[in-house]
């Protein structure tokens, strides 16, 4: 029991575990994979110590872990799990099943390269490849933000009946130690009421889920799922504002940092947002008018917010730590689509940086900003590295 907010030295992964513990999940089916494993280890340790009262389940695969998450959630309890990379790939089928069943599961995903070849490096392609699965996707940049976002994700997911993924990158966030303020149980309890769904799998309610539907029913089901996604924008913004009221920490769904009068705005997600914030300060100090736009909520994609923040900006550069072969950077393409047809749409410069976990330094960011100011925008994303 955490009786008052406590500062602890935690890795990003352990911060996630504390966030999950504070949410009081009742069932945790979880399967180990590097670099997610410390999340699972800390949870089982907290359970053994009595700090966490939950059924932990150790199935033979991520596929079964997610299968159990879905039914446990539908049977009326709060659930948590975590995975990474290949594990998320194996879950893919069940991710669709989870959102289809409208199960408000919260899962942490630690971004790691997908094989082959084998690698362990931070790369966001694993979770971005799940963008059409009907999950809410949050990208976080620090241990503190990951802890806070797990709790915001529960609050949002349970109001809109959609599953939510909290995503941070391998090692840069997952294994870096930071001082994290762990909120008290009482604070979290006041923020996150117990999960008490009206409809669940229970003989006394006698409702079923998942059997075959006709075309019209399926169409209607997808439409409702889309409406829940739209609703999520407002619910998630409110959940963030309420968390800020309670703890003093808010992140917004899209954060604009020093964007006023910027000649170049850098759009990115995850740990690169933290590096960019530093780079922006350095560039501003040297008279280079750069700003950061951090996309924290990737699904639902905050199209209107991006339009209003990027309208009339002289130049916008997008940094992607992912790659969609045959198309380019996923965030680049999504921003392009979001701004299409808008009056005073800015020219977009897409950079494939940090793919495969390459380091993205403030110096590199400044170099790209200078290039952006110098060159004409190109349609395709440009490879940066070597």
């Amino acid at each position: 029991m955490i009786s008052k907010p406590t500062a602890m030295l935690l890795t990003g992964n352990h911060a996630v575990s504390y966030g999950a513990m504070l949410a009081r999940p009742k069932v945790i089916p979880i399967y180990p994979i590097t670099p997610q494993t410390p999340i699972a280890e800390k949870l089982t340790e907290l359970q053994l110590s009595g700090a966490l009262e939950a059924e932990t389940m150790t199935p033979e695969s991520e596929h079964s872990a997610m299968a159990a998450c879905i039914t446990a959630s539908l049977a009326g309890v709060r659930v948590f799990t975590a995975t990474a990379s290949q594990g998320l790939m194996l879950m893919h089928e069940m991710l669709h099943y989870a959102s289809g069943a409208r199960a408000p599961i919260v899962m942490a995903n630690v971004n790691r390269t997908i094989g082959s070849p084998w690698g362990f490096w931070p790369d966001q392609t694993d979770s971005l490849a799940q963008r059409d699965t009907g999950w809410i996707h949050y990208y976080t940049e620090s241990a503190q933000e990951s802890l806070d976002t797990v709790l915001q994700a529960y609050r949002t997911a349970e109001q809109v009946s959609l599953p939510a993924m909290v995503i941070h990158e391998a090692f840069y966030v997952s294994h870096s130690l930071e001082v994290v303020e762990v909120p008290s149980h009482a604070m979290v309890d006041s923020y996150l009421p117990p999960f008490t769904p009206e409809i669940m799998l229970d003989p006394s309610i006698n409702r079923s889920w998942g059997n075959v539907v006709n075309q019209e029913m399926f169409w209607r089901h997808r439409k409702y799922l889309g409406e829940a996604m739209e609703q999520t924008l407002e619910v998630a913004a409110k959940a963030d504002a309420q968390w800020k009221e309670l703890t003093g920490r808010g992140y917004e769904l899209v954060e604009a940092y020093r964007c006023a009068d910027a000649e170049v705005i850098i759009v990115t997600m995850g740990s690169m947002a933290g590096t960019t914030r530093e780079a922006v300060d350095m560039m501003r100090a040297r008279g280079l008018a750069a700003g950061l736009l951090k996309v924290r909520l990737f699904r639902p994609f905050p199209v209107q917010k991006l339009q209003s923040l990027l309208k009339g900006v002289p130049r916008v550069m997008i940094m992607d730590r992912n790659f969609s072969p045959g198309l380019g950077g996923v965030l680049h393409q999504e921003v392009k689509a979001a701004l299409y047809g808008m009056k005073k749409a800015p020219p977009l410069y897409g950079y494939l940086v940090g793919v495969g976990g390459l380091n993205v330094s403030p110096a590199l960011i400044e170099k790209l900003v200078r290039r952006t100011l110098r060159e004409k925008a190109e349609i395709n994303s440009i490879w940066v590295g070597e």
Partner: protein, 299 residues
């Protein structure tokens, strides 16, 4: 012949009306009978998991259901994990008395669902897993599964399956779970008794039920019960139970009827040569002998 006499003598089953008429099974389907005996014995304090299979069709299309219990339809490989998730939630909610069961086909059990089932058994999940074994992917139009017996015709083994049926009962017994049983619709009293017994036990329980597929096996609409009894009397599908991986009990077995009596009525075996029938007879005899020795050894 004693087996035949015994089985015919009584048919006294107390049924709770969980499974209903109006379901979508083919006329005379062996699996529909199994559904009736299983669900009406489990009773209303049950939540069922069903993967894609004939079982999913029999469950009924939205918004209808042939069962008066909550049913969750999962993916083909996930039945055991899905049932375990339900049971864990029930435990967390203090509703441990509610049963979580899975009803899957042999494709969803012997093949794609095996990994999840093996893990659930190893973890000792408190579920009852029913495998409706019709020896192939019948819902997709008769393709071979690892439960399809040697030489049987399927559309993916048009020349007859060259390899043996996987012995799932023995594999599950090797997990040393509290209860593994084989049963069939030709012996409803035996099937019901096994379901009742499983209900009283905690931990992972697996019951494999031979449910003839009239279309896939090539049989008349009224042949389901008859052929499943012949499967027992010829010894190709003996009825037994294994407790904790060691205590074997034969409930109904071979009476010496030759295997040809079982094979001949089935279209899936009509291409067999005399040598192939001999081979099957030899394999059945060998396996049956091993089973008898196990029963004796652990008696």
């Amino acid at each position: 012949m004693e087996n035949k006499a015994n089985a015919a003598r009584y048919y006294d089953i107390h049924e709770e009306k969980v499974f209903n008429s109006g379901h979508q099974a083919c006329p005379g389907c062996g699996q529909a009978l199994a559904f009736r005996y299983v669900l009406n014995t489990m009773g209303p304090e049950t939540i069922a998991v069903v993967p894609p299979s004939c079982a999913a069709i029999i469950s009924g299309p939205q918004p209808y259901s042939s069962m008066r219990i909550p049913v969750y339809q999962t993916t083909l490989e996930a039945s055991a994990a899905s049932a375990a998730g339900i049971k864990r939630a029930l435990i967390a909610r203090g509703k441990e008395h509610v049963h979580a069961i899975a009803i899957a086909g042999d494709g969803g059990t012997y093949d794609i669902g095996f990994q999840a089932l093996s893990s659930a058994a190893e973890r000792g999940e408190d579920i009852i897993y029913f495998c409706m074994d019709n020896e192939g992917y019948m819902n997709t139009g008769t393709q071979k599964s690892s439960s399809t017996p040697r030489y049987a015709y399927t559309t993916s083994t048009p020349g007859g399956k060259p390899t043996k049926k996987k012995n799932l009962a023995e594999i599950m017994a090797a997990h040393q779970i509290p209860y593994v049983a084989t049963a069939t619709v030709g012996f409803p009293d035996d099937l019901v008794r096994k379901v009742k017994k499983a209900k009283e036990i905690k931990g992972t329980r697996v019951i494999i039920i031979l449910t003839p597929c009239l279309d896939g096996w090539g049989l008349a609409d009224n042949a389901s019960v008859k052929i499943s009894r012949l499967a027992v009397f010829t010894g190709i599908f003996p009825l037994y139970e294994v407790e904790n991986g060691v205590k074997y009990t034969l409930t109904h077995g071979s009476d010496g009827t030759p295997i040809s009596a079982y094979l001949k009525p089935q279209r899936r075996y009509r291409h067999l040569t005399a040598e192939q029938i001999d081979t099957i007879q030899q394999e059945v005899d060998e396996q049956y002998d091993i089973l008898l020795r196990r029963v004796k050894c652990f008696a």
